[in-house]
Symmetry: C2
């Protein structure tokens, strides 16, 4: 494969009508599921090329290089594709926290005893993450 050839991953991915595929980020050595986000073909290619995870932000309508503002980057350890090609599993090494709330994982709210329960507190103040000097 030359540097500019499309990755074979792309031919196995079934992007949806918006050109996106769901991507789960999992900390490679602990198994913790950190977040779910979306990728387009360009962000898949960039992620594989650079080894730094790049998503597609649906709200901003553009590439989202994880950590570009907060510094909380995700280094790709391995990309996996599911059986029907419409979901990716990204094994990553997460620097700091994955969640914009300052928590390690975005999945910090659990249903317990019929109630929504916060099961993790922020480990860093989001103000610090997004107003770095």
């Amino acid at each position: 494969m030359t540097a500019n050839a499309p990755s074979p991953a792309l031919s196995s991915i079934s992007f949806n009508a918006d050109g996106l595929v769901a991507a789960i980020a999992q900390q490679h050595n602990t198994g913790e599921v950190l977040m779910l986000a979306w990728m387009n073909a360009e962000s898949v290619e960039e992620t594989l090329r650079t080894g730094q995870v790049c998503y597609f932000s649906r709200s901003r309508g553009k590439l989202w290089r994880k950590g570009e503002t907060s510094g909380q980057i995700q280094s790709l350890v391995e990309m996996r594709i599911d059986c029907d090609g419409d979901a990716l599993l990204l094994l990553v090494d997460q620097k700091g926290v994955a969640c914009h709330t300052g928590r390690r994982s975005c999945f910090y709210t659990a249903m317990r005893d019929g109630k929504l329960t916060e099961i993790a507190a922020p480990s860093v103040d989001p103000e610090i993450l997004y107003n770095r000097t």
Copy 2:
């Protein structure tokens, strides 16, 4: 909460335009990510009520009680909701295999050395799963 009251989970979930939310299934005690599927409000309610995971099949356009054909059921250990409510993490106890190909996880194809590589073989013949007598 009475038996028929809507779960508080529902008010925290941002279903998409099709009334669906992405749900990651993870084996609760090993951390293995098994699959990604979709749920609607009814399947979320049923899953919480029965403790057996029920998805919504986009291809069949109806509730999909995981394992109803194959016997490979998922028992819910805990449901978690992400920070913006548009993804669920289901900690489950998977009976047998999650994937219709007979593999434990649907994420059995990895990008390694620039190539797609199958990293897990079926542990059960799908013929046996879907043609049970």
